[in-house]
Amino acid sequence: MLRRPLPPLVLLLVLATAFVYRQELRMVGVQRERTALARERARLAGEIRALEASLAWLTRPVRLGRLAAALDMVPATADRLVPAEAVARREGIELARRRFPVPLPSGYVATLRARPPLSPVRDGAGP
């Protein structure tokens, strides 16, 4: 086996070196990609922050107050607050807020919700 070992050993060494080089190259590429992704992530995070700040600025109470006044909207007064018991068809409204999981024969679980009443009104104040 050791009669002519040099050529295959050299070949193996060359192949291994090439493999190592290829791996190094791929690693550098991955690192570059990772850095670029991190930069992109930071840029997008910055954009999200700026957009959130813009949203907060556009929905600040001072501006909303002015817009509401221009639209003839008035703030709710305490008279609009009624005990829950005074709300007609309260059970129906509360039922409509609940979600019921329904397992289907296919194995999929669908979510079922009851249909809410069309016009919740106070007792005696409507049909």
Partner: protein, 568 residues
Amino acid sequence: MTSPDPLARARGRLRLLALAFLLAFGAVGGRLLQLLLAEPPATAARTARAEPEVGPRADIVDRHGRLLATDIPSVSFALDPLYVRDPAATAARIAAVLEGVDTAELTRRLARPGSRYAPVKRHLLPREQRAVLELGLPGTILRTRFRRVYPQGDLAAHLLGAVGADGRGLAGVEYAFDRRLREDPDRPLRLALDLRVQFALREELEAAFRRFRAKGACGLVLDVHGGDLLAEVSLPALDPLRFGEAPEEVRLDRCSGAVYELGSVFKLVTAAMALESGRVDLARRFDARGPYRIGRFRIRDVHDYRRALTVPEIVAFSSNVGTVQMAFAAGGAAVMEPFLRRLGFDRPLDWPLPERARPLFPRRWPEITVATVAFGHGIAVSPLQYARAVAALVSDGRPRRVRVRADAPVEVAREPVVGEATVERLRWLMWLVVERGTGTKAASRRYLVGGKTGTADKPARGRRGYDRDRTVSSFVGVFPVDAPRYLVLVVLDEPVGDEGTFGFRYGGWTAAPVVGAVIERIGPLLGVPPADEEVRRRYFARLREERFVDPGTGRREKRLAFVAPDRR
């Protein structure tokens, strides 16, 4: 000497060669394993440095998650003077495209020998950034950094505070929670503040501040049970982005960083003390014919009542003479000093923010001090400190720590300062002030409000005594008064009466309407149902009133008395 066998020599060389190859392959294999299995630490560090900086400070949000402070990317422009051949010409070119650049100053910076960094302008707008790039100047340095912005503007500026150029908190919440904001930037800091309540308070307070041309104003809303600071407004308004440039009187947080002799609103504390002492009850009368003399001092009322007043009348009409006697009847200094200490008036407010003014608490307690403290002079506390004490007196008698953060635990004192009976009577007295006394302008059509007015002369400048032309007018209100949930305090510093107030600057004319308006606005927002008629009837049932004409002055007056529930 015989030469060794050539075959043996060759085998020896081959073994050596095989060993060398083994070592080489071992090294390559080891390196391969290292590359495949573990990332070298040096490479990881290099990658981290290459990543752009993430927002250095966490957002600040209100109790409902509305954004109050955040960091947004901002570009700063600088030049490397090494690449600048003609500093004056370069500075002129830059000044032509960028507003606010001082050409002379920039020229000086660019010409500084040995310098490698000359800052030009921070927080470039996108169009400015484009203009700078179009200039194509050698040595241009554009750095993206994060800038603290406050989307709500100056709405809660004093509470939030500000951040310095180094990204560290300078005041308010930004300073108090600086470490938390820097070390945990991905998790917003949630405050107890309610932006909707803050806005309502700010609008109403600012309107009064402008109308009465006050020097300053403070308003706050406290959750009586949790100690949550739902709103805190200090005026004049502060631009949080120009914190450093603002004068001291604008930077001052008047709710927690300043102390005032609050005047008659302090009579609530005296009344609570007197009722709790057991020596004074609501049926007791005190001679209110003034002036009341203590040594060379004379204590007067705004107008002479010329008769004995009941305790409800003393509080409702805000009689200084009656309050002083009530304080002495309760036990004087021996009772008053420890009572005020238990309410925390002898030390700065225990809360996390740096704005903590030290109260002016009397060192000695002669009779005149007891008398003046009884009606809110001779003792100066911060409005927030006072609000905290009143919140305790109308809830369950136990002071609570003011909560700035929504996730902070509710901290309640173990021992109550007053008992349930005193709390119940104090609520009725506060209701009486708004229903029949000096605080009628704080009344609400929908809620049962309780409160107390206060008007204090300010200490004179450059001489002893007080200046009658400069006052601190205030009103403290709680609602719903039968089971208080929220407290609203408004303090106006040096208001000037107008035609609408007939020139009066009393708290009942200036501060009380603000509190009434705030309660009308925030009640529905906070889900407080309107007053129950049954409760209203129950409160009126304890009141016996009689109207009469004072034969001495010819004025129409009213007598108010408490009817104990068992005597009805």
